[in-house]
Amino acid sequence: MASSVFAVNGISITKTWGAGSSAVTALNDVSIAIEDNEFFTLLGPSGCGKTTLLRCIAGFEQLTAGRILLFDEEIDHLPPNKRPVNTVFQHYALFPHMSVADNISFSLRMLKRGDQEIRQTVGKMLDLVHMSEYADRRPTQLSGGQQQRVALARALASHPKVLLLDEPLSALDLKLRQQMRVELKQLQEETGITFIFVTHDQEEALTMSDRIAVMSDGRIQQTGAPVEIYEHPVSHFVADFIGETNFLEAAIQSVDIDSAHCRLVGGARLTARLTTPKQPGDRVTISVRPEKVLLTAKSGVSGNRDGRIDGIVERLVYLGTDTHYQVRLDQQTTLLARIQNSAESAKFGENDAVSVVVDQSACSVLAD
């Protein structure tokens, strides 16, 4: 790792607004290392600081503390027009008084590139985003999706070292959004440019990203590949923000290298993945994804075997492809199980006694 140069390396970035008691901390000692040619997503609810972080990298915000390196070069003292990074804005911010071609060539003209080169690059960019027929149109004459493509082409035209995307899909309707996800990912692979993508949409983040950083309250909660983030969230926040989950209270009985044997409040035993240091005896929360559990008819064997918890179906909701079972495990705890309605899956009714089978890979001990 020491030899590789990060595309963006943010070191202890802090950003506060105002001063004294009314000061607001948008970014609290955030460190982030984004690799070259990576599709990196900053994911979090509104107000978590993800857009502020993006704007710090773009140069629109001055850091209160910390440093930002772009391919090992310090950029935090440079104004936005001196940074070789470009932004795709949430509402595109296309220049309404210029044609599509003029919008795309804007950065090249600012960089004083030759006419020949400008013409070629604009042609290439229009091709790249499938907008060649629209070169002479004005942005106001385009649909939302087309404007989106022009904004992408405009930001990519000067071949920036890093492309910053600030919720660029949020203004599009669902169908278009899904289509643009695929296109964005393709575009990133074709151009080989590092993309930093900001979104509050977990599905968007999971489908496009090489890595995701989940943010809340001005901090990065977890960074990792989509699978890692989804299957092994480290905190309450990450587990809850990405997809549905069950939280089970438990006490640790013994600890292995990367797993912990836990005992639930109701007496059932579970083995869960452990990523943070915990001691036997610690009270912890375990996150269990509802689609990772199985339901079986209650076994005759009394008592709870490891990974098997007895309960009673309290409520069920039929959803077509899936059925949601709400299973009561004990007085305080219910567990949600999402079972696919395949031909061989067993069907249960309300008040049926069942056993919930939880595989070790489906459970994560949360840090908090």
């Binding site: 629109f60 001196k82 932004t87 911010a93 296309l94 309404p96 950065s107 004005r138």
Partner: protein
């Protein structure tokens, strides 16, 4: 075309809504204008007023001097010079108002919502006091023995008072002061509608501040610049109070010339002709501009 009863009723309602304004415009704008145009083609009476004899004399007088003895016409640029001087004065006023007004309007438009309205209100405060009184106050301020010169001499910056009152500079200052708000308000309205994210976008795409101003901001607030310029230029061109008081009536401007014809000179037809010529020039310029705009817009689409 067949119009239904409902459509007819709708149209009648619309005309009814418009009628008070229409009546006002006809009585107090169209009719007086007609009188002025008619008067400009009549013969002056000895003690003011007009004699109902049709004549082009007023328009001839504008460009030519009639020899007292043999009645031959000699070209004279005296009145053209007055128009030219007024034109330059109005142009300088407009440019100065823009240079002062643009930063002001920008400042106000970028304030938080609550403060904005306070400032817009402050901009209109001068209009709560009569223009004549404000101009006289200005005269007192800038005259040779006035506080401005007194302060400058007392501070040792100058030995002799700067002559501002009764010069073209004085007139200029008076005009700028009078018409500045007419520039600030339309500019403010245009800047307020301006999407500041475009500034960030262009800044991000390697443009420097000067280019952002020229290539992004100015083109997009053109409507405000044009409205402000028209609102300053046209009244400056025919202004009367500032040239009369601050200029001391030494260098005649169009406004003074016209006023003089109806007062001292008692040549109503010539005064009317001077007014008609001014109006025609301004209207032609405006129409050319509008047509040009229409053509530009057509090219856009």
């Amino acid at each position: 075309m067949i119009s239904t009863a409902a459509e007819q009723r709708d149209r009648r309602a619309r005309i009814l809504l418009l009628s008070p304004a229409l009546l006002l415009v006809i009585c107090f704008l169209v009719l007086p204008l007609c009188i002025i145009v008619v008067y400009s083609f009549l013969t002056p009476g000895t003690y003011g007023g007009v004699i109902w004899d049709f004549s082009f004399e007023s328009y001839i007088q504008f460009l030519f001097e009639r020899d007292l003895f043999d009645d031959t016409l000699v070209f004279s640029s005296a009145y053209l010079q007055i128009y030219f001087r007024s034109f330059v004065q109005a142009l300088v006023t407009t440019i100065a108002c823009f240079l002062i007004g643009f930063p002001t309007a920008w400042y106000i438009a970028t304030l938080p919502e609550r403060k904005k309205y306070m400032w817009v209100l402050l901009i209109t405060v001068p209009y709560w006091i009569n223009l004549l009184i404000r101009t006289i106050a200005m005269l007192f301020l800038v005259r040779n023995e006035g506080p401005l010169n007194y302060a400058l001499i007392a501070s040792g910056l100058i030995d002799e008072p700067i002559k501002i009152a009764y010069t073209n500079y004085g007139v200029g200052i008076g005009l700028i002061y009078t018409y500045l708000p007419f520039m600030v308000l339309p500019l403010y309205a245009a800047i307020e509608r301006f999407d500041f994210r475009l500034v960030e976008a262009s800044y991000d795409l390697y443009a420097n501040r000067w280019i952002i101003l020229r290539k992004i901001i100015f083109p997009l607030i053109v409507p405000g610049i044009v409205a402000g310029s028209l609102l300053v230029f046209i009244p400056s061109l025919g202004s009367f109070i500032a040239p009369d008081l601050l200029g001391g009536g030494k260098n005649l401007m169009i406004g003074n010339l016209i006023a003089l014809q109806f007062q001292g000179s008692r040549n109503w037809p010539f005064g009317s002709a001077a007014a008609v010529i001014l109006m025609t020039v301004v209207l032609c310029a405006l129409m050319l501009y509008i047509r040009q705009q229409g053509r530009n817009r057509l090219q856009l689409h």
